[in-house]
């Protein structure tokens, strides 16, 4: 009998299994029957607009919020019974920072590490390692309130790593950060991914989803609209290229009307008209020949934003 076979079974069994997960708040259905699995080492994303139910899902997966119905196992355990055992193996970066503002930066890490029953001497060393990882060594003694938004996020990630979690849950890790701060953060997350940490993250930025997620679900109004890798979703729900035409706010809708039939599909947005096509330049040339004169035109590759638009008829960020 091969021990390798045994190992493979253990390694490939999913770390998260959610099936028909439902959460209702009174009459409001925040999550309306979501099913997905996450494999160990995978980077899994939930992409969706505000109010889609992403945070609620993350809180259930984090073994904090109790589910209304459905099946949920995290690392083979049921959060209803083994909450502490599950949470002992998770790292959590919530949407809203909840660092203790009355403690210094390093103390925030130490205090949090203690919650995992870790000895004080270990917690001190670990805090220093993670401050270095989060590029916050100089800030060890600073007040949390003196940190920038990006630094707070990095500190929160460091806090989530105090227990060497098997799964790191990140709820909108870069929302509200400037582009530079986002890139620093992404770089840190890439490192964790390389080290084999399973990442589950939510975002309403399609570029973030494309950058960080091996696989994702597109969620809207508490249900899954589509699932796949970023590339496969774009292949399935969009065309290779998109031709963006601007005719001025008052003429876009009218022009979209007369363009229908061009490319595979035409979408009218308030500020521009999108023509979905495999060959953007070719389509533009054809339209120009037919006497269509947009104020500006642009050919770009399809993104997850287009997937979302196709699936819901709305933009991700409204």
């Amino acid at each position: 009998m091969s021990p390798v076979g045994v190992t493979l079974i253990i390694v490939s069994s999913p770390v998260i299994v959610a099936s028909e997960l439902v959460k209702r708040y009174g009459g409001v259905t925040a999550v309306g029957g979501i099913s997905f699995e996450v494999a160990p080492g995978e980077s899994f994303g939930l992409l969706g607009p505000n109010g889609a139910g992403k945070s609620t899902t993350m809180r259930m997966v984090g073994a904090v919020s109790t589910r209304t119905s459905g099946r949920l196992t995290i690392l083979g355990l049921d959060p209803d019974h083994d909450g502490p055992e599950i949470r002992a193996q998770l790292g959590v970066v919530p949407q809203a920072d909840n660092l203790d503002e009355e403690l210094r930066v390093r103390e925030n890490l130490m205090v949090y590490g203690r919650y995992f029953g870790l000895p004080m001497s270990y917690v001190r060393r670990k805090a220093d390692d993670l401050l270095a990882f989060a590029q916050l060594q100089d800030k060890a003694k600073s007040k949390v309130t003196d940190l920038s938004g990006g630094m707070k996020r990095r500190l929160t990630i460091a806090r989530g790593l105090m227990n060497d979690p098997r799964i790191l849950l990140l709820d909108e890790p870069t929302t509200g950060l400037d582009p530079q701060a986002r890139h620093i953060l992404w770089d840190r997350l890439f490192r964790l991914k390389e080290q084999g940490t399973t990442l589950v993250l939510t975002t309403h930025y399609m570029d973030e989803a494309e950058q960080l997620c091996d696989r994702l679900i597109v969620v809207d109004k508490g249900v899954i609209m589509a699932e796949g890798t970023p590339a496969s979703l774009i292949r399935e729900y969009s065309t290779r290229e998109v031709l963006e035409l601007r005719f001025g706010a008052d003429r876009n809708a009218e022009m979209a009307e007369s363009l229908s039939g061009s490319g595979d599909r035409v979408e009218a947005l308030p500020d521009r008209v999108l023509v979905y096509t495999a060959d953007g330049e070719g389509e533009l040339a054809r339209l120009t020949e037919a006497g269509i004169r947009p104020l500006t035109s642009l050919v770009r590759r399809s993104s997850l934003e287009d997937v979302f638009l196709r699936l819901t008829g709305r933009s991700l960020i409204e």
């Binding site: 904090v64 909450g83 502490p84 949470r87 403690l103």
Partner: protein, 274 residues
């Protein structure tokens, strides 16, 4: 380049330790926070008794004269009550703003609940940390009272425990109330003015309850401060209180502590696991 030191931590001892000691970790966290305002705590714990004992002993005591109250000097009469009231002040600080803050303003409770710690343990940890601060405050008070000669070393030391209990009996029900709030639109100030102040004034703190008109004496009977103060007086100078009444005093304090502690845990759980 920094590599994170990865040690494969076996998670089950982690969870087992959290299940067993979680409340202590929360208390440790709270005490660390208190350290950031330790000067306020210490100055309050030393300054308050000094001011009160000087004012009561030298000032008010002089006015009252040498007529014994409850069989002792005015300073002896008032000292145990002042000690209880100091513990109550500590509890009213720690069970109001930090609780609402933990749920709302700087929601550290939400942060803690994503670790293995349970909401009930967060409440327990708050209580433990207040016990520590109220106890230390009471011990300091007791020592200063000894210097003023208003108590003697001996059984009176136990009044420190009674004072701590009074703090809990007063503060835990307030924590229960605060835990239900979504925001503070003056409720905390109201608690201080309409609960803390009247209960302190009409609980036989500065004069015996029986010297008040009968229609005001009920305030003492529903006040943990009066019940506790009477107990502390028994321990401090052997105040004459019938045995059945001592039992009532103890039961009254416990009746405020135990059910409201339980209720606070329930509310925290409902709130943090929603």
């Amino acid at each position: 380049m920094t590599a994170i030191q990865t040690r494969v931590l076996d998670a089950s001892p982690s969870a087992a330790k959290a299940r067993r000691f979680g409340a202590w970790y929360v208390a440790e966290h709270r005490l660390r926070v208190m350290r950031s305002y330790v000067s306020t705590v210490v100055i309050g714990a030393i300054g308050t008794p000094l001011l009160y004992l000087i004012a009561m002993g030298v000032g008010l005591g002089h006015l009252v004269g040498s007529t014994p109250i409850d069989g002792v000097s005015y300073l002896q009469f008032v000292a145990p009550a002042l000690m209880c009231s100091a513990a109550v002040t500590v509890a009213s600080e720690e069970f109001t703003y930090p609780v609402l803050s933990g749920f709302k303003w700087n929601p550290t409770f939400i942060g803690i609940s994503s670790s293995p710690i349970t909401p009930g343990q967060i409440i327990d940890g708050m209580v433990i940390s207040v016990i520590v601060r109220a106890f230390v405050t009471s011990v300091i008070y007791w020592v200063i009272i000894l210097f003023f000669g208003a108590m003697t070393v001996g059984v009176s030391a136990l009044s420190v425990i009674v004072a701590t209990l009074v703090g809990l009996a007063f503060g835990i029900p307030i924590m229960t109330y605060i835990a239900t709030l979504e925001r503070d639109t003056g409720q905390i100030a109201m608690v201080m003015r309409l609960v803390l102040l009247p209960l302190t004034l009409f609980s036989g703190t500065f004069f015996p309850l029986t010297s008040m008109p009968v229609y005001l004496q009920w305030i003492g009977w529903i006040s943990p401060i009066w019940h506790g103060t009477q107990l502390a007086r028994v321990l401090a100078y052997g105040a004459q209180v019938p045995g059945w009444l001592i039992v009532v005093h103890v039961l009254f304090l416990l009746a405020l502590i135990v059910p409201f502690w339980w209720l606070s845990r329930r509310i925290a759980k409902r709130r943090l696991t929603a």
